[in-house]
Amino acid sequence: MERHSYKLEKRLTPSPVMVFIIPIISVLLALILGGIFLSMTGREPLAVYTIMFTDSLGSKYGLTETIVKAIPLALTALGVSLAFKMKLWNIGAEGQFYMGAMGASWLPLTFPTLPVYVMIPGMVVLGMTAGGLWALLTAIPRAIWKVNEIITTLMLNYIAILWVDYLVFGPWRDPLGSNFPITAAFSDAARLPGLGDSRIHSGLFFALAIAVILAIVFKYSRWGYSINVIGSSERAASYAGMNIKRNILLVMFLSGAISGLAGMAEVSGIIGKLQHGISPGYGYTAIIVAWLSKLNPLAILIVSVLFGALQVGGYAAQIEGVPAAVATMLQGMILFFVLGGEIFTNYRVRRVSRKGEESK
C-alpha cells in the first residue's frame, strides 16, 4: 500500500477565502473552548453566553453601549495598525490613550470659558499631539539605536497611567468636589455632541474618518506603499531609497496621535472630566482587533463592534457573578486561533506520497 505524508507549501498570495473564514471560525472555536473552561469551573456556558449576547447586542441600550465601547477600540486599533503595517510593534496605545485624554483635558480645565468652536478643535489638536509625542519618545531610540519598541512602549503605558493618577489625585483634582480622584467637570463647550439623545457621541465620526483616510492612504498613496514595503523588507526599502528613520518617527507619531484622539473622544464624549481608570484596557484589546482585521482599516471598524460587544457582555456577565475577566480570556483565545489559523492562509497542505510524487 502506498503511504503518504503531508507537507506545507507556501502560497504565493494569501488565500482570500481563508482570510475571510479564519476569523469567523476562530471566534467560534474560542467560544467553544471558553465554554469548556466555563463549565469546568462550574458555570453554565450557554447561560453566560446568552446573557453576554443579549445584554450587548439584543437591546437598544446594549447596542448603544457596544458602539460606545467600539469607538475607542476602533480608534486605538487604527493607530496600532498603522504602526504594525511597518512592523513597528507599538503596544503602547493604552498609554497614548491616557496621554491624549490628559492633553485634551488641559484645555477645558485651564480655559473653561472658551467657545465651542475653539474648544473642540483645540482639544483634538492637544490630545493628538500629546498621544503622538508620547509615542515619539519610543520612536526616537528605535530609529537611532534600534532599541526594542515593544518594551519601551509597554513600559510607558504604566508611566502614563501613573502620571494621570498623579494629576487627578493631586494638582488637577476638583477643589470643589469631594475627595474623589476626578477633575472638575468640563464645560458644555468641551463636550462632543451626542447622536440624538443617546450616549453615542460624534467621536464615531473620528473613527469613520480615520478609517477611510487610512484605507485611501494604504491603497492609493506613494507613502502608504512605502510603509508597506518597509514593513515587508527594510533592506529592500532602503535599497529603493526610502527614508526608514524618518518614517519610523512619522508613523509612530501618527500612530500615537490616533490613540491620543481616542483618549480625547472618551473624556470629551463620554466622561466629561479626567479621572482615574478611564480605560479598561482598550489599548491592549486594540492589538487583537487590529490583527484580527489583518490591519485593514475598514475591517477594524466591524471587528471593534464585535469586541465592544464582548466588553459590554463581560460587564453583563459580572452582574451575574461571573468575573468580567472572562471577556479578556475570550479575546486571548480568539487571537490564538486566528494566529494558528494563519498557516492555512499562507500555506497549502499537500499530500505527498513517500516516493516524493505529488498527488492531490
Binding site: 518594551i151 509597554l154 498623579y166 489625585f169 492589538i287 475577566a325 471577556a327 494566529l339
Partner: protein
Amino acid sequence: MSIQEFMIPLLAAAVIAGTPILFAALGELITERAGIINLGVEGIMLMGAVTGFMAAVTTSNPWIGLLAAMFAGGALALVHAFLTITLRANQVVTGLALTIFGTGFSGYLGKAYVGIPVPKAFVPTPLGPLADIPFIGPIFFQHDVLVYISYVLVFVIWYFLQHTSPGLNLRALGENPAAMDALGINVFRLRYIYVVIGGMLGGVGGAYLSLAYAPSWLENMTAGRGWIAVALVIFALWNPWRAIMGAYLFGGIDALGFRLQVLGLHSVSPFFLKMLPYLFTVLILVLVVALKKGRLATPGALGLPYDREER
C-alpha cells in the same frame, strides 16, 4: 539611622524583589537562546501566580503550589511553541496573545481567591553559618529557600550553556538552526523543550510573587514584572550572571521606591515613586543598546520561524 541600618535591609529587599524577575528572566533567556521570543512572560507569570496560589491554598503545601505553577507556565508556553514552531505564527503577536489570555484567565480563575491568606507560604530560613557572615549574610542568606534555588539555577544555567555539549547545541539552535538540522539534530523538538522549560521558570517567577513575596493573590499582581524580565534579558546580553545582577538592580529600584514611601518622603508623590521601575527599565534599555550598538550578542536566528524548505 546609620547608613548600614538603611543599606542592609534595602539590599536584602532588593534580592527578594529581584527574585521573581530573575526566575522569569532566566526562563526567557533559555527560550531566546533557542531562537524563540516569548513575549507572553507577563501572562505566564500571572498564570503561575494564580495556579500556584490556588494549589497551595487547597493542599496547604507551597511546594505543590510551586509544581502547579510550573505546570501552568509550561502549558501556556507549550501553546506558544505549537503556534510559533509548528504553525509558524508571528512570535511577537503570539506572545501578546499569551499575555492577554493569561491576564484574563488568571483574573477569572483567581476571583474567589482575592484576599484569602495562604495557609503555608515560603518563609525565610537562614542558611546555616552563611547567614551569620556580616553584611553578606543578611543580604543573601536569610531568605526563603526559593531564593537559594535561584542562586543555584543561575550557576547551573551558566555552566550548562558554557561547558556542556547540549548547552552548546542550545546556543547554536538560536544562532543557526539550519546547521543544527544538517547535523541531524531535531530543531523542532529541542525548541519545544526549551520554550516549555522557559515557561516553567516563568511560572515559578509568578508563584514566587503569590507564595513568598506577597504572599497573596491579586488580579494583575505582576504589574509589568514579566515585561521587565524580557527587557532584562537584553540588558543581560543573554548571560545568566548579568541577569542576576540586573534582576537585583531592578529589585533594588523597586524596594527603594517602596521604602521611600514608607519613610514618608512627602515632597515626592507616591505615584512618581511607583513609576521608578518602569522609567528605569526604559532608561537602562536605551542606554545599554545605545552603548553596545551592534555588539548586542542577540541570537542570530531569534524570532525567525524555522522552515526546512527554506534552508
